[in-house]
Point group: C2
C-alpha cells in the first residue's frame, strides 16, 4: 500500500515494455508511489516466460520486475488496441501523459502520441543510439570488462552474471522521467527522450575512468586512435601499455582480495586506507613481518600504490592467518576493526539468512500465480513510503477496470 | 554548457561525498542541468588519489565522477567550516536545500541542518541499513554473483570488475532526490532519506529473481530457512537443488554464448527468440544438422528451455562455423539477420574505435590538471540538454567564488 505522502503519489505512467530495463524503470517509480500501468500484447511480451522460473513454470523474472504495477493486455496489432493505448496516455490526468517503452512501433512514438497529449513525456529505450538492437551481453562484450574479469591465468572473456547495464539503464530511465516531469511542472512542456542501453554502458564506463585509461593504454601501445594522444606520457606510467591487466579478485590500486578460511569459506577482505591496512596487519599478527618486507623492498605500505604493487607479497603473508582460523574466528577477530570484509555466499544462503527476511525492504509475499516468494521493495528508506514490496499483477488482471475508466468516445 | 531548458536547470545540490556512489549521484543530476557543489575537506577526500591514474598521478577516477560540478574545500573539522556548509545549504534558494552525502558527521545530519532549512531534502548513503560500513566488493561477496560467475570448472569466487552496486546506488540516489523534490514542490515538505549500498544490491538481486530462485534452491536442499517453504515443489523442478550453476558465458534459460573466430577474436552471440535461433542456424549452415539432433533428442528448439538444456550440443555444432570464418566474415554473414552479437574488445580498443568518439555523449575534453582525455556525458538524449561532458573542477577551484556569494552573517 502506497500512502499519499509517498514522494511520487499521483504520478501516472503508461509502460509498454519487456525484459529488464524498461520494466525496472517503471517499477522503480511504482515503488515510490507512482501508478504504473504496464501494457502487454495478448498473451504477454517475450519476457513473460523468462528464466528463472518457479516450479509451476511461471517466471520469477517477470514477477520480480513488475511488482506494484497494474497490468493491461490488448491486441496491440489492431487499430483498436493501439487507440486504447493512445486514449490511456491522453486521459491520464495532469500528472499523467508519461510513456516509458522499449518498443519502436510508429503508433507508440512521441510524434504519434503527442497530438492528443501535447505535454507528453515520452522515454524510449533502444539498444544502440542509432536505434539498432543490442542486449546487455553484447553491449558488455564491446566494452572491456569481460577481458579484465577473472584471474591472471584466465584466457578469453568472462561475462557478468548480473545484467548490470540493464539495471543501470532502467534506473537512468526513471531519472530521465523524473527530470522531465520537473521541467514540465515548471514550464508546461513535455519532451521526447531516447536512452540506449549501449550509451548507458559507455557513459558509466567513462564516468569510472575506464575509457580514459583505455585511451592512455592505446596511446602508449602506439595504436593510431582517431584523436591526438595529447596526454604527456611519463617515463614510468602507472598503467601497463597493454591496458589494465587481469588481477583476479584483487582491488585495482589498493589492497583487497579474497582469502580462504579454515572452514573452507572464501571471504572478501578490503582495506581502502592505511588505517584499514594497519588493522589487518595487526589482527593477523603480521605487523612485524610486513614491516620487515616493507623495509627490504624500499616500499611504503601506507601508500595505496605500494600496497597494490606488492599485493601478492602482502596477501601471501596474510593468507596463512585466514587458513589457520575458522570463519567464526575471523569474524570475531575483525569485529570492531576498520577492516571491511564479507563471506562469499550462494543465492540460496542469502535467501536463507535470517537477516535477509528481517530487512525492511524484503517481504515474503503472496505472488499470484506463483506462491509465497521472497521479494524486495525500494532501497530508498524514508518516512511515508513503505519499503515492503507489493506483488506483481497477473498478466492482464486490470484490463477491464482500466479500460472501463476511459472516457467514452463520442 | 547547460541551457536553461535542461530539465534540471535551477536545481541546486550540496554534495559532501567520496568514492563512487554519492559522486555519481550528484554528477548524474549535474549532467541534466542541476548546479552541484561538491564540498571536500582541505586536501581532498580519500577518493582524490584513487586509481586509475593519469601519467602525472592525477586521478582519472576522481575526474570521471565529478564532471560538471563546482568544487569547494573547507576545514570540515572546524566549527567555521561546518557552519559554512550549513550556510550554503540554508541559502541555496527555493530550488536548493538539497544535501547528498555519504558522510555520517552529526553536524551534517538532517536533524542538524533542517533547523536553518525546514524544507531540507537530505539523502545519506550508508554501507548497510544499520549504518555500518560496506563497500561494493564486500556487498557483492554476500549476494551470490561471484560464486556463479565463470565457467563450470572455476573454483572459488570471481569478482566483478565493474562496481555495479556503487553505480546502481548512485543512480538510486539521484532518483530519491528527484522524487523528494517533486513531493516538496507539491507539499512544501522536505524529507530525510537513507540509502544503503547493501540494500540497493539486495533490492536489485530480488528484482531480477535471484533471491526467489535462491529461496527455492534452499527449500529444495532441505535447508531450514526462517520462513515456511510454501512454494509447491514440482517433481521436476526447473532449477537444480544446489542453486543456479556456473554456466560460463552461456545465457541462463536460452541460447547465447561466446565463440572464437578464425581471426582469434571472441564474439558474444545471443539468440533470445526462436527466430533469432533459426537465423543463427541458417547462417552457420547447421539448420539440417540441428534439426536432426533435435529429432534424435526429442527436443523442441523453438522453446527457450530446450535450447538451454541442449546448449552444449548446439554450441558444439555451431562453433566450427565461427572457427572457420574471420571476424569480418562473421560480421558480414550476421548483418541483416536478427542475431545479436558483438566482438569482445579491450578498454584500449573501445577507446580507439572511431565510433566511440563519434558518439554524441563522448568528448575529448581538456581536463584541468590532466590533459585531453576521453570523457562521457549523460546517456539521456533529449532536446535542450547537450550530452557532451563538461570537465571536472580542480579541487577547491570554486571555494572563494561560492563562499563569497554567501549572505554576510549579522
Amino acid at each position: 500500500m502506497i500512502l499519499d505522502d509517498a514522494p511520487l503519489a499521483g504520478l501516472r505512467i503508461i509502460e509498454v515494455s519487456s525484459f529488464v530495463a524498461a520494466p525496472l524503470g517503471g517499477m522503480t517509480l511504482a515503488q515510490l508511489g507512482a501508478e504504473v500501468i504496464r501494457i502487454d500484447p495478448l498473451g504477454g511480451a517475450p519476457d513473460t516466460t523468462r528464466w528463472p522460473l518457479a516450479p509451476n513454470g511461471r517466471s520469477l523474472y517477470w514477477a520480480g520486475l513488475n511488482k506494484g504495477k497494474r497490468s493491461v493486455t490488448l491486441d496491440l496489432r489492431s487499430p483498436d488496441g493501439q487507440r486504447a493505448v493512445a486514449d490511456l496516455v491522453a486521459s491520464s490526468g495532469p500528472d499523467g501523459g508519461i510513456v516509458l517503452t522499449n518498443a519502436g512501433h510508429p503508433w507508440l512514438s512521441y510524434e504519434a502520441l503527442q497530438h492528443a497529449r501535447p505535454d507528453l513525456i515520452h522515454l524510449r529505450i533502444t539498444g544502440r543510439h542509432d536505434g539498432s538492437p543490442a542486449v546487455d551481453y553484447t553491449v558488455n562484450a564491446g566494452l572491456g570488462f569481460p577481458l579484465t574479469t577473472g584471474d591472471e591465468a584466465t584466457a578469453g572473456p568472462v561475462n557478468h552474471v548480473l545484467p548490470a547495464w540493464d539495471v543501470a539503464c532502467g534506473l537512468y530511465a526513471a531519472i530521465g522521467i523524473l527530470a522531465a516531469e520537473r521541467h514540465r511542472r515548471r514550464t508546461g512542456a513535455g519532451r521526447a527522450i531516447t536512452l540506449s542501453l549501449a550509451d548507458v554502458a559507455l557513459a558509466v564506463t567513462g564516468h569510472l575512468g575506464f575509457l580514459a585509461e583505455g585511451q592512455l593504454a592505446a596511446a602508449t601501445r602506439g595504436d593510431d586512435p582517431p584523436y591526438p594522444a595529447v596526454i604527456p606520457r611519463g617515463d614510468d606510467p602507472p598503467y601497463p601499455p597493454e591496458g589494465r591487466p587481469r588481477i583476479g579478485n584483487h582491488l585495482y590500486g589498493g589492497f583487497a582480495r579474497d582469502f580462504r578460511t579454515k572452514s573452507g569459506d572464501s571471504v572478501m577482505v578490503v582495506t581502502l586506507t592505511a588505517r584499514h591496512y594497519a588493522d589487518l596487519a595487526r589482527v593477523s599478527g603480521r605487523t612485524e613481518a610486513l614491516a620487515a618486507v616493507e623495509r627490504a623492498l624500499g616500499a611504503d605500505f601506507t601508500k595505496d600504490s605500494d600496497r597494490y604493487a606488492h599485493r601478492e607479497v602482502i596477501a601471501a603473508l596474510i593468507a596463512s592467518w585466514f587458513a589457520e582460523h575458522t570463519t567464526g574466528e575471523v569474524a570475531e577477530a575483525l569485529a570492531g576493526t576498520s577492516v571491511l570484509w564479507e563471506r562469499y555466499r550462494t543465492f540460496a544462503e542469502l535467501a536463507a539468512a535470517p537477516e535477509t527476511l528481517a530487512n525492511p525492504l524484503v517481504g515474503l509475499i503472496d505472488q499470484p500465480g506463483i506462491g509465497r516468494i521472497l521479494a524486495t521493495g525500494t532501497p530508498l528508506a524514508q518516512p511515508g513510503t513503505p519499503q515492503t514490496p507489493a506483488p506483481a499483477p497477473i498478466l492482464g488482471a486490470d484490463t477491464d477496470a482500466i479500460l472501463g475508466e476511459l472516457p467514452k468516445r463520442g
